[in-house]
């Protein structure tokens, strides 16, 4: 069973979310930067476009200013005849195709005392035809017309607001008027104006030719904010930018308009009047006329590339994200599938099933290592358990062996209940490990008691077996009526034969003649027993100089004898007694044993053995016993 919110899910989510955020951030940042760059580019080029278009318009208008200016200079310089004026004007109109009409309009009676109105006017009608009229009448008092009055009152040349030509139909015009003066009686007096009516058709054509993206456009407003050219012809001359602002309830547009007619160069955000799209509006002044040229740059169209790019990037990111997600899921699964399988396998192991199949992981990564380690662990565990079982059985066998070993030692005391001529007691406290100590006591015949104590070199089963073999050999050899020396020699020889383990055993063997109290003994390398004399105390039994049995097949064993008086005894022991160590590593020692025996001298064998064992155990209090402790005591009582 897979746990809820498992590793795969978390890993997938984490990686996907982080990856998504990273990709999203990159796309957003890219879009932001691109947009900023593009916007800056667009704004720069928009400004350039508006400025250069305005400059172009300005240049054309300036060029048309020259002729009226020239004529006004002539008029101020000197006297002139009517016909000369007409020629001047006619030439002006003829030679300047953009000049639609021209006049020199005089103040009342300024040209001629008899004429209140004098304004010869040449103008184009149709294709190339130039007509002439004298303007001014009581019905058309030109003195209060803008083209006449404004330059007069301001005292300098001006461009009029654009207007539709009253006679010529739909020709959009603007008039450039230059005032001229004459000095009369020392006074510079306003005398009239020279005008040029300039058709603005070229302006409309020029501006409508400016194409910005698909729906962007250029337009022109007059000094009054009146729309002079615009792709929406219904606005032209009918609306001002301010009336549009009012109609659209857009105070921002009004502010833009005010900025424009103040002759500012600027950039504003507004909406296209064609399709209401959000747009940039850049504007630049046409200084001679006070007009302002605006260019509308539809935002979305111009940023279309950027928006498309962002859209494509988002799409790619989304597709990439999906692919990424798939890969993450696959990777996460490939990681967690073996992990899940391992988890399942370890549950099996915990349940004790070591045979469960392990997932196959071919990768060499951490998961692979884990799986391999797990495999090794399973294998080792299996082996360990097998060994553990084996050990258990060995221990069991050792226990059995120990019990057998123990059982082969005489354990029943007194061993010969009907004999009162001697008392004997022995005990062996085995160490944890199977040891090699043994003792034995047996009646060789009615009057001879054999006692033996030995210590096999080494520990464990081989020692135990060697001990058993030694004891058996000794017993059987002892019964064959050989001398003690021969007996030990025979046992030694037998032990040496086939002693592939190169083990040996220290052995003390004594035969007590129960009638005389004579103790004949031989010692093959064993610690010297103590003789406990009732009269004289504890003495070490004299050694015989023999070496341990099983070491050298030619070894010979000397025999000695001593005589026990009634009440005398001997104490046999193994080095487990004297070499027992306390927690500080202090040995129990020969001295202490001798002292111990001294204290208990005279007591029965059982009491002696128990006392010594107790003392040793007190010495080794709470310290692990690392060798068998074996002790045997004999007290002779004359028959």
């Amino acid at each position: 069973m897979r746990p809820r919110g498992g590793l795969a899910l978390r890993l997938t989510l984490l990686v996907f979310v982080c990856g998504g955020l990273a990709v999203g951030a990159v796309v957003a940042y890219n879009d932001f930067i691109t947009r900023r760059l593009v916007v800056r580019e667009i704004e720069d080029s928009a400004r350039n476009l508006a400025q250069s278009a305005a400059n172009h318009v300005e240049a054309v208008l300036r060029s048309t200013e020259k002729v009226p200016g020239f004529i006004s200079d002539l008029l101020e310089e000197g006297v002139y005849r009517e016909s000369e004026l007409w020629t001047l004007l006619l030439t002006e109109v003829e030679q300047n195709p953009e000049i639609y009409g021209a006049t020199i309009a005089f103040e009342p009676y300024a040209f001629d005392d008899s004429r209140r109105y004098f304004a010869p006017y040449f103008y184009r009608r149709g294709a190339g035809e130039i007509e002439f009229t004298l303007m001014g009448s009581d019905a058309y008092r030109y003195f209060n017309r803008d083209w006449y009055q404004i330059p007069k009152e301001l005292g300098h040349a001006v461009w009029s607001e654009p207007y539709y030509d009253e006679g010529g139909g739909n020709t959009l015009m603007a008039t450039y008027s230059v005032p001229f003066y004459r000095t009369v009686a020392g006074e510079r007096r306003f005398t009239g104006v020279v005008t040029a009516d300039v058709s603005l058709n070229w302006l409309q054509a020029y501006l409508s030719a400016i194409r910005i993206s698909q729906t962007g456009y250029a337009f022109l407003i007059s000094k009054n904010g009146r729309v002079v050219t615009h792709p929406r012809s219904d606005l032209v001359m009918n609306e001002t930018i301010f009336s549009l602002a009012e109609a659209q309830d857009d105070p921002g547009l009004r502010e833009i308009g005010r900025d424009m007619i103040r002759g500012q160069l600027g950039l504003a955000h507004t909406r296209s009047l064609l399709n209401n799209q959000e747009s940039w509006l850049v504007y630049a002044p046409v200084p001679s006329t006070g007009w302002s040229l605006g260019a509308v740059f539809p935002r979305e169209e111009l940023l279309g590339g950027v928006i498309d790019l962002a859209r494509t990037q988002l799409l790619l990111a989304a597709l990439g994200g999906l692919a990424f997600l798939g890969v993450i899921i696959a990777v996460a699964r490939s990681i967690t599938r073996p992990l899940t399988a391992l988890a399942r396998a370890s549950e099996e192991v915990a349940r004790g099933n070591l045979e469960g199949a392990l997932p196959v992981v071919r990768s060499r990564d951490e998961v692979g290592q884990l799986a391999a380690a797990f495999g090794r662990m399973q294998h080792d565990l299996k082996q360990y358990l097998a060994e553990h079982d084996q050990l258990l059985s060995i221990r069991h066998e050792l226990d059995v062996a120990r019990r057998i070993q123990q059982s082969i030692l005489p354990r029943t005391f007194p061993p010969f209940p009907d004999r009162h001529d001697f008392e004997i007691f022995a005990d062996m406290i085995p160490a944890q490990e199977l040891g090699g100590d043994f003792y034995d006591l047996f009646l060789i015949d009615t009057h001879h008691l054999g006692v033996a104590i030995g210590d096999v070199s080494g520990k464990g089963v081989p020692a135990a077996l060697f001990m058993a073999v030694t004891r058996t050999l000794l017993r059987s050899t002892a019964m064959q009526g050989l001398t003690l020396s021969e007996c030990l020699g025979r046992v030694n020889a037998l032990l040496c034969r086939d002693n592939t383990m190169e083990m040996f055993v220290t052995l003390f063997y004594g035969i007590l003649d129960t009638r005389s109290g004579t103790l004949e003994y031989g010692n093959g390398g064993h610690v010297h027993p103590f003789i406990l004399r009732k009269a004289t105390g504890v003495q070490e039994l004299e050694g015989t100089g023999g070496i341990a049995l099983g070491a050298l097949d030619s070894a010979r064993y000397e025999v000695r004898s001593t005589t026990l008086q009634a009440g005398d005894g001997i104490f046999l022991y193994t080095d487990g007694v004297t070499e027992a160590m306390d927690a500080e590593g202090q040995l129990f020692s020969d001295q202490r044993l001798r002292a111990c025996l001294g204290q208990i001298n005279g007591a029965g064998p059982e009491a002696v053995v128990r006392h010594v064992v107790e003392e040793v155990q007190r010495h080794t209090f709470q310290t692990a016993q690392n060798d068998d402790i074996t002790a045997m005591a004999l007290r002779y009582a004359r028959p």
């Binding site: 009055q149 009152e153 009054n224 904010g225 009918n238 301010f242 009336s243 007619i261």
Partner: protein
């Protein structure tokens, strides 16, 4: 087949002709507003379009006014049965012996005003002293001149033409303007209201009511029903126009287009709203009034006499003859 079709067409045409002949009770009449079509005359156009004149038994023809067609002359020459005129114009005509009669006074308050740019430092009438002020000619001069006299300021007047550009270009510091026209032109030329100093003449005890409906005494006497019907229908037209400004402006714009007059919807909206203001005797009144107040009449007449434009003041009762029931 084609013969059948022709027969059907003839029948339809005959039917139409018969129907036209079947309205014998409609009295033909002509009306000439004193200027080109604009919302200043919206009530008349609406009344016409809504058939209100027909309902009053009038088969009205609205003539197109403008600078080329003087309303006062047309009335005098009986080329129009009804015209709108300024009160001052009509009093002068009456004083000259032209038998014009006021049958309804529409505009109760002067729309004529003086405007100045605050930037030129003009705040009070006294600030105008010695300055160039552009003033329209004719009847438009009456109030400004009285105004300057009243405040004892000597100004340098400049004749103002049909456009206000002279003022916009700072050729003069002040100019006459109509509240519903030139003042709006200033706004729509980028000047803000708070940048303009205004002198409304009615605020200086120089309120001269303007547009009224006039006819000749003869019409008033001989065709009283026509006069009453015309005034009633016109009044209802104005009421409808104020109640339905968008529709009124649509209709007005159509008339403007037909007369080839530049049309600007927001301007016309402004003008219609100002007409409503001006047709109230006082600001904030509930409803417009169609009567000519004797006090207003006398103020204008006295000023005309004082300015030497008329010799004698015509009798109010013979000048103002509203049809009964209006």
């Amino acid at each position: 087949m084609s013969r059948c079709l022709a027969a059907v067409i003839i029948a339809i045409l005959a039917g139409a002709a018969t129907a036209a002949q079947n309205e014998p009770s409609l009295a033909p009449a002509t009306f000439l507003p004193q200027w080109t079509p604009q919302a200043q005359f919206a009530g008349f156009y609406i009344a016409f379009e809504k058939g209100l004149y027909r309902q009053q038994g009038i088969d009205l023809t609205i003539l197109t006014g403008g600078p080329d067609r003087s309303a006062s002359q047309s009335l005098q020459d009986a080329q129009a049965d009804f015209v709108t005129l300024w009160l001052s114009t009509a009093i002068q005509m009456r004083a000259r012996g032209v038998p014009v009669v006021n049958v309804a006074q529409l505009v109760q308050r002067s729309a004529l005003m003086l405007v100045a740019k605050k930037s030129s430092g003009i705040r009070t009438p006294a600030d105008l002293a010695g300055k160039k002020v552009a003033v329209w000619d004719g009847d438009f001069r009456l109030q400004p001149e009285a105004f300057f006299k009243k405040f004892g300021v000597k100004v340098q007047t400049v004749p103002l033409g049909p456009s206000i550009n002279l003022f916009l270009r700072d050729g003069v510091v002040a100019a006459t303007a109509m509240w519903y026209n030139e003042y709006y032109t200033l706004l729509s030329s980028g000047l803000n209201a708070d940048e303009i100093t205004t002198f409304f003449f009615d605020a200086y005890d120089l309120n001269f009511p303007e547009d009224g409906i006039y006819c000749l005494q003869e019409t008033r006497s001989k065709r009283p029903q026509l006069v009453e019907g015309f005034v009633r229908a016109t009044w209802d037209g104005w009421a409808y126009a104020f109640a339905h400004p968008d529709e009124a402006i649509d209709i007005t714009m159509r008339y403007m287009a037909a007369a080839h007059v530049p049309a600007n919807r927001v301007h016309q909206r402004w003008m219609l709203a100002r007409m409503r203001d001006l047709m109230m005797r006082k600001e904030g009144e509930a409803a417009p009034t169609a009567t000519l107040a004797r006090g207003d009449y006398e103020r204008v007449a006295l000023q005309l006499q004082e300015s030497g434009w008329i010799d004698r003041i015509p009798m109010f009762t013979s000048f103002y003859q509203p049809p009964p029931g209006t």
